[in-house]
Symmetry: C2
Subunit: 74 residues, 2 copies
DNA sequence: ATTGAATAGTGCAAATTTGCCCTAATATAA
DNA sequence: TTATATTAGGGCAAATTTGCACTATTCAAT
């Protein structure tokens, strides 16, 4: 399996998340704490090396205090 | 693990997807074919019993010819 | 009521993600 | 530079997702 992964999309998603996070002046560690994810996972998502789930995207959006759909608006 | 899953969100996501799919008069099978996912998986997502990935959400959105963010707009 | 289409659901192996441990590399201040 | 904070990344076990094969149930139309 694994052929359902779209690396370009994941990179864009990660870069977009990073921009939003930096725009809010948050460190990965602070975002990890607020979203109750591991710091490692936040990094992996931003680098586009993991294909995270819609649930975690939702948790991250909540931690950033933005609508989930904004995470996908790029 | 597994405590990062938000069932309410997954149900909403699935219901929203279903509404969009039906609005386009597509069967799960047709959507599965267009998105290159398995029919079983489309059903699981709509029922909210699986926490799918952002990549698959993207493939589904493409198959529906809508922006990904619209899948998260509910 | 019957037929056929569509959806629900079960079970399994393989692939992938995730948290947690850790160290390395890079950026930011002082 | 030196120290400090931040990010990158390796490695592993456990959890989860996914496709595939299959049967059961529900829906729609005639």
């Amino acid at each position: 399996m694994g052929y359902y992964r779209n690396d370009k999309f994941l990179k864009q998603f990660g870069n977009h998340l990073r921009e939003i996070r930096l725009g809010k002046k948050l460190s990965q560690e602070e975002l990890a704490f607020r979203s109750e994810l591991d710091l490692t996972q936040i990094g992996r998502i931003e680098r586009g090396v993991t294909n995270t789930s819609v649930s975690l995207a939702n948790k991250i959006a909540k931690a950033l205090k933005i609508p989930v759909k904004d995470l996908f608006d790029f």
